[in-house]
Amino acid sequence: EPEVTQTPSHQVTQMGQEVILRCVPISNHLYFYWYRQILGQKVEFLVSFYNNEISEKSEIFDDQFSVERPDGSNFTLKIRSTKLEDSAMYFCASSEAAGTGALYFGPGTRLTVT
């Protein structure tokens, strides 16, 4: 069964450094998402992406965040200058169609900012 993959599984970085989290969505999916989950809390929407453009973003997704689909398979989330409060699990997801509730999530990248 096809699945979303994410690398790395764990990233440790110092405050102020840039990080890039990588995702490979399911190959025939056209809609891509990033979510984050601070330990033990709910899953928070960051951004949705379709046709090489951001469809929607949350208040969390400020100027420090950006997304890119650099080629036909990868989908990346960049945090330019990490803060301590950026420490969380970051989940990539993809879906086949617009407006569907069935998102396919990857296993996540644990980001630790020290």
Partner: protein, 110 residues
């Protein structure tokens, strides 16, 4: 503010019994809800969804009920198994995003 939310942070159920996880929503215009399961160390996994033109939908061992009058939905798991141990989230589809509520952790008692 939060559009969907769960009633209880934890629920303990005897193995073999049925589990019922509840969720409330605030916006009467909301029309599409989803349940996700998150096992420890994994990403959320889609279980079942329901649109507002239905009040019940069944899957394999799961049933979602939607009561639009009181803005409440529930997930029923039949014959709960150890593999059902996870955090369950209700979520709302809002076009280009899905918004998750707080989860309920389901504990399975032997």
């Amino acid at each position: 503010g939060e559009s969907v939310g769960l009633h209880l942070p934890t629920l303990s159920v005897q193995e073999g019994d049925n589990s019922i996880i509840n969720c409330a929503y605030s916006n009467s215009a909301s029309d599409y809800f989803i349940w996700y399961k998150q096992e420890s160390g994994k990403g959320p996994q889609f279980i079942i969804d329901i649109r507002s033109n239905m009040d019940k939908r069944q899957g394999q061992r799961v049933t979602v009920l939607l009561n639009k009058t009181v803005k409440h939905l529930s997930l029923q798991i039949a014959a709960t198994q150890p593999g059902d141990s996870a955090v369950y989230f209700c979520a709302e589809n809002m076009g280009d995003k899905i918004i998750f509520g707080k989860g309920t952790r389901l504990h399975i008692l032997p």
